[in-house]
């Protein structure tokens, strides 16, 4: 993660017209590719895969405020694009047995295939944009507020809807029994946040900076009382700050407290 951050810092400086990229603003790899094709005014009929891939990867590298999950998904797509290119340049490798499996999984074979994917995808992307506009317009009008918690309504007769609600409830119930004191947040909190996100680390960095700017603090103060997740995020934040030369970490005596000061 620190590597990626390092790269993105570099890129920001190198790329003068550098526009901010947030993967979260894209719905997926194809959405980003469409955006690239449009913003660079490439002719989809003359898609140059190499050029597109290199732009795509540059985009990913300069991407900001991105969760690791997002990044992973986009890079996985990018690597398949690259692999494809390699195979088209070195067709001989196709014979290797273990490469064969990879090829079978692959979804496109060349520019033609990628172009076809984009062509199929693009109208839906427009459809989504159109629907977003529709929704915004509709949301300017309000209907009467029902006096109970009856929004949203479910059409009766939707058997699968009924069934899935039950299985969700059961999940929640079992979870509740498992953890004893159940609170709705904690369920969602734990799942996607299991891997600390860059954003969390960045936020923590700012917090830490604010507290140590006033006075030098011991590591034990900074790591105290927090939960496990917070602990990891704090450690990552400290490492990153140290790497960037934002803090000075010292230990005055063996086994003494480690002191953290802002530089």
């Amino acid at each position: 993660m620190t590597e990626l951050q390092g790269l993105s810092h570099k890129n920001e400086k190198a790329d003068r017209n550098g526009f901010e990229v947030q993967l979260g603003a894209f719905s997926g790899p194809l959405d980003l590719l469409c955006h690239l094709v449009e913003s660079r005014e490439m002719n989809p009929a003359e898609l140059n895969l190499t050029e597109l891939v290199s732009q795509y990867v540059r985009f990913l590298v300069s991407s900001k405020r991105t969760t690791l999950n997002e990044m992973a998904e986009f890079f996985s797509f990018a690597s398949r694009l690259l692999l494809r290119k390699v195979h088209s340049l070195f067709p001989a490798q196709r014979d290797t047995a273990d490469q064969q499996d990879l090829l079978d999984e692959d979804i496109f074979t060349d520019e033609e295939e990628l172009r076809r994917m984009l062509e199929v995808f693009r109208p839906y992307r427009n459809g989504a944009a159109y629907m977003a506009a529709l929704q915004r317009e509709r949301e300017r009008s309000f209907i009467r507020i029902a006096d109970d918690e009856s929004i949203p309504f479910y059409d009766l007769g939707d058997l699968y809807g009924l069934a899935s609600l039950w299985w969700q409830l059961l999940d929640r119930y079992n979870e509740k029994r498992k953890i004893g004191d159940y609170c709705e947040e904690s369920l969602w909190d734990d799942i996607p946040d299991a891997i600390p996100e860059e954003r969390q680390v960045e936020e923590r960095m700012e917090e830490l900076l604010r507290s140590i700017r006033k006075k030098e603090l011991g590591l034990s103060d900074l790591l105290g009382e927090k939960n496990k997740k917070m602990l990891i995020v704090t450690l990552l934040a400290l490492l990153e700050m140290s790497r960037l030369g934002m803090v000075r970490i010292t230990q005055s005596e063996t086994l003494g407290d480690v002191l953290v000061a802002a530089v």
């Binding site: 996985s76 507020i145 109970d148 479910y154 009766l156």
Partner: protein, 205 residues
């Protein structure tokens, strides 16, 4: 209403008040509206008066003054029509709130079941919801449980089976039948799977 200029200005205020009364499920006092719109309560009173006049002239709606506030409602003359209509509509085209549908699912999968058992699973009270379900003929009382306080037991009705197109209560979808769309909640699970053989479309993560 004499001066066109004044008319227009009052027009916007009236529209705002009208829309507020429309969306609000409870009566709203002039003071409350006034504080939201940043005008005097007296101006609100005037606006409401104008609205009431407009509605009184020729509308199926009216503005009532109840428990210290204004509330939009249907004309008293139409009471019979409207009451019958709203029952008819809600029977014909039943739509349930999430709370109601959840409760229905608990009853369907666990029948016969008591109210406190339902509440245990949903961790919210459900007397009102159960009443709604009974009113719609989706749920019925099927007896009393032989335990302390002998609480009522609830079951789904034949109408329930009909509406959901079920041959019998045993045909309710199992967890397995829904696995097609249910999200894998465990992030690590999906990571692991990319290393193994990628079945279906899972190889994108």
């Amino acid at each position: 209403m004499q001066q066109s200029d004044e008319n227009n200005r009052i027009g916007l205020l009236e529209k705002q008040v009208e829309a507020m009364l429309f969306v609000s499920p409870q009566p709203v006092s002039s003071q409350e509206i006034a504080s939201y719109l940043g005008v005097s309560a007296a101006r609100i009173e005037n606006a409401v008066k104008t609205l009431r006049d407009i509605y009184a002239k020729s509308h199926g709606l009216t503005i009532l003054f109840v428990s210290g506030g204004w509330q939009m409602a249907t004309l008293p003359d139409l009471a019979d029509t409207i009451e019958a209509f709203s029952n008819a509509v809600s029977m014909q085209r039943v739509r349930l709130s999430k709370a109601a549908l959840e409760t229905l699912s608990v009853i369907a999968y666990n029948q016969p079941v008591t109210r406190s058992e339902i509440e245990d699973i949903r961790s919210v009270r459900c007397d009102r919801v159960v009443d709604t379900l009974m009113k719609h003929g989706l749920v019925r009382i099927s007896g009393r449980k032989k335990s302390v306080g002998s609480p009522l037991l609830f079951r789904t009705t034949d109408r329930f089976l009909e509406i959901f197109g079920l041959a019998g209560i045993n045909s309710l979808p199992s967890l397995d039948e829904l696995k097609d769309y249910r999200a894998e909640d465990d992030a690590f699970d999906s990571l692991e799977r990319t290393h193994g053989s990628a079945d279906e479309g899972d190889n994108y993560e």
